[in-house]
């Protein structure tokens, strides 16, 4: 059942990428690749479970061998199992370098994890540097005559 749900969900994501013209327009290879990869895993998994049965005891022996760092390759597990295993390994290897780590982005995004309290609390910028400004003195030098005529107070007469 879980395989069917996974396949359905991923197919929906793929369908939406093809069907909505705007989304299709912005899609890159890196948007399609993980979808096809997951579809491959789900398909090979379903095939293995319901259609091309594999020897589950030998499969377990192989996996336990890997987990205990004493790998053995039992006879007669069936090709489909190795295809499935390869795709899963590819997914694991691809995962951390791809958009699939997007869950982390939700927490890392500065617009999501910073408090909007900058009027209340001072935040110091370590590389804040002095800039060239137009000072009041320069301004008054430019306009002193006009300010005096308009009866606006000045620093220097």
């Amino acid at each position: 059942m879980s395989g069917i749900i996974l396949l359905g969900a991923v197919s929906y994501l793929l369908f939406r990428r093809f069907y909505i013209p705007q989304v299709r327009y912005i899609s890159l290879t890196s948007d399609y690749f993980p979808l096809f990869l997951i579809i491959g895993i789900a398909l090979s998994g379903i095939l293995m479970r319901y259609f091309i049965k594999v020897d589950i005891v030998s499969a377990k022996e192989l996996i336990m061998g890997l987990l205990t760092f004493s790998p053995r390759i039992p006879e007669g597990i069936g090709v489909i199992f190795y295809i499935h295993l390869f795709l899963v390994c590819a997914l694991f290897a691809y995962f951390p370098f791809s958009k699939l780590v997007h869950m982390a982005g939700v927490f890392l995004s500065p617009t999501r994890n910073l408090a909007n309290n900058s009027r209340m609390k001072r935040h110091v910028n370590p590389w804040n540097y002095p800039v060239k400004v137009h000072t009041y003195e320069e301004y008054e030098d430019d306009f002193r005559g006009k300010m005096k005529t308009a009866e606006i107070p000045v620093e220097k007469e």
Binding site: I20, P21, Q22, V23, R24, Y25, I26, S27, L28, T29, S30, D31, F97, K99, H102, G105, V106, L108, S109, P110, T111, R112, N116, S118, R119, M120, K121, R122, H123, V124, N125, W127, N128, V131, K132, V133, H134, T135, Y136, Y139, E140, D142, F143, K146, M147, T149, A150, I152, P153
Partner: protein, 540 residues
């Protein structure tokens, strides 16, 4: 490029949102008249020491770029990737889910796929991938990377000056990717090559030398306010005498210079003047820090800081206790988000306390600058002001949340609270177009020029549609707001899409309704139009 014609309403309403067959990387930007601004003038760029100062036009084939322009852009990008965590993360994490695509007013009103926020970001992201990521360097186009060429640079310029930095897309993005931050950096990079617009660089130069965007010199500021005072006297019989550059005042008042010049900003300014007089507030105007807005923000952070520095410098020189700020949009983004970090700490000021109600504005403890909307809502809450809302009965009002004060700061209720106290007829636009989901006016971030009117009308279409909805349903005839750019930009938008709707600042409505001590019976509103029931009584 003179006399760029704005297409008829029927023509502009036909919008095709379908992207073209060709991939976006293979579709070069087509510069459409009416969708972009004139190039910056050399004299304005050199007035503030910007690089590559020269006269140029986006219509020319040769943009007069420096020899090593590519190196400058990539160096600039590298520097900013190191400085801004936001920029670096936003270059990395997009999954192109498309949630932002139909949230941008420019895409909704124009249909150009490169105005989808995701694709606007990809324009820059593709360059980031090519020069800063391993996959982009190795796989190139397959990894969504592309070479930085002169055409790509021109495309960046075209589309990064078609974004108003309103942040609506960010609200709907599952990651909160903020296109405004990306646009800001994109524009900073373009400014390293002197690629700015006339409409932005002119006000920046003005503001640096003269203290405000409009280039009003000290005596002109005083004259303009004197005109308003004469009008107030005619309407209310009360003579107001504000002070300028006065040392020892309790409060320094800073507002966008748009309120000092032109209709309908001046009516909002009259509202401020009447309010402060009625309260007997010990405040002063400044001609040096005579601009709250900051077009420098649309060029680079550094330029924005250079302009913003005047507010604290002037507060210190005059020895005031705290600062009160007028109705404005991006002015408040800067005060809210940057001012203290750039030019603080404001330790020479005191934590703002309302002299009338004694309320401490703890939310402004660090910046020491209070928004006039907060200040007035507090006054009304304490029953310190008397109103005759009937003097606004000629208006059926709706409220446009400005992107920067709404999405940026969370000011939603205060302006509505004031409007409901000073007007009898108030109607909300549909929920998905107000408060944090508000639609931009389409002209923010320095795009409110004349030559790009088609862009502005397209970008403003979603907002105009929401206004039309309440106009037809409730007869709304006034669009209230708390932003000077709105007051400058929305009248044209309303005239085009929803004729019959006027635009006003909240303090204009407050000025109309405010009952002042010793006033004569008013026969007109601040615009000089007869009050309801007083028609034919006008002396004029």
């Amino acid at each position: 490029m003179a006399n760029i014609k704005l297409p008829k309403i029927e023509e502009l309403s036909k919008i095709d949102h379908k992207p073209p067959q060709n991939g976006w990387m293979d579709t070069p930007a087509e510069f459409k008249q009416g969708m972009y601004c004139y190039g910056a003038k050399g004299k304005n760029l050199s007035a503030v020491d910007f690089p590559n100062a020269r006269d140029w036009s986006p219509d020319d084939k040769d943009w007069k770029l420096p020899e090593n322009w590519k190196e400058i852009v990539l160096e600039g990008m590298k520097e900013r990737l190191g400085k801004y965590r936001s920029f670096h993360i936003f270059m990395d994490i997009c999954v192109r889910c498309g949630a932002c695509a139909d949230k941008c007013h420019f895409f909704l009103g124009g249909g150009d796929p490169k105005n989808m926020p995701v694709l606007r970001a990809e324009l820059l992201r593709s360059i980031y991938r090519k020069y800063f990521t391993a996959s982009g360097k190795m796989l190139g186009k397959v990894a969504g990377a592309r070479e930085l060429t002169e055409d790509v640079l021109k495309e960046l310029w075209y589309y990064y000056y078609q974004c108003t930095e309103c942040r609506r897309c960010s609200l709907f993005c599952p990651y909160g990717i903020d296109q405004a931050e990306i646009t800001m950096i994109g524009r900073e990079l373009l400014n390293l090559l002197g690629l700015n617009t006339d409409w932005i660089s002119g006000p920046v130069a003005n503001c640096f030398i003269k203290g405000n965007h409009l280039g009003l010199e000290p005596h002109a500021i005083k004259n303009n306010i004197d005109f308003m005072l004469d009008d107030i006297e005619t309407i209310t019989g009360i003579k107001i005498e504000p002070t300028f550059n006065r040392k020892g005042a309790e409060i320094l008042f800073v507002t966008p210079s748009g309120d000092l010049f032109g209709d309908p900003g001046i009516y909002t300014c009259m509202g401020y003047l009447m309010l402060f007089h009625e309260l007997g507030l010990d405040y002063t105007w400044s001609t040096y820090a005579s601009e709250g807005g900051n077009f420098g923000f649309f060029t680079s952070m550094e330029m924005a800081k250079r302009l913003n520095s005047k507010i604290y410098a002037e507060a210190k020189r005059l020895g005031v206790k705290w600062i009160l700020g007028g109705e404005c949009g991006h002015m408040w983004r800067i005060i809210n988000q940057y001012m203290d970090t750039w030019n603080g700490p404001a330790d020479f000021l005191e934590e703002p306390v309302s002299p009338i109600t004694g309320t401490r504005f703890e939310n402004a403890k660090a910046t020491k600058m209070v928004h006039i909307i907060e200040f007035v809502a507090d006054l009304i809450k304490h029953g310190k002001l008397k109103f005759d809302p009937g003097r606004n009965d000629q208006f059926k009002v709706t409220f446009h949340d400005s992107c920067n004060t709404a999405r940026g700061m969370g000011i939603f209720e205060e302006p509505r609270y004031i409007i409901k106290n000073v007007c009898n007829n108030f109607y909300e636009m549909p929920e998905n177009t107000i408060r944090e989901r508000t639609f931009c006016c389409g002209s923010g971030s320095g795009l409110n020029a004349g030559e790009n009117m088609e862009l502005r009308m397209r970008g403003g279409l979603p907002r105009a549609n929401a206004v039309r909805y309440v106009h037809e349903r409730h007869g709304v005839n006034l669009l209230a707001n708390v932003c000077a750019i709105d007051r400058a930009a929305l009248p044209a938008l309303m005239d085009y899409w929803v004729p019959g709707v006027k635009v006003a600042g909240v303090h204009e409505l407050l000025g109309n309704a405010l009952i002042m001590k010793g006033e004569k019976e008013r026969t007109t509103d601040l615009r000089g139009d007869a009050l309801p029931g007083k028609e034919g009584n006008e002396d004029a």
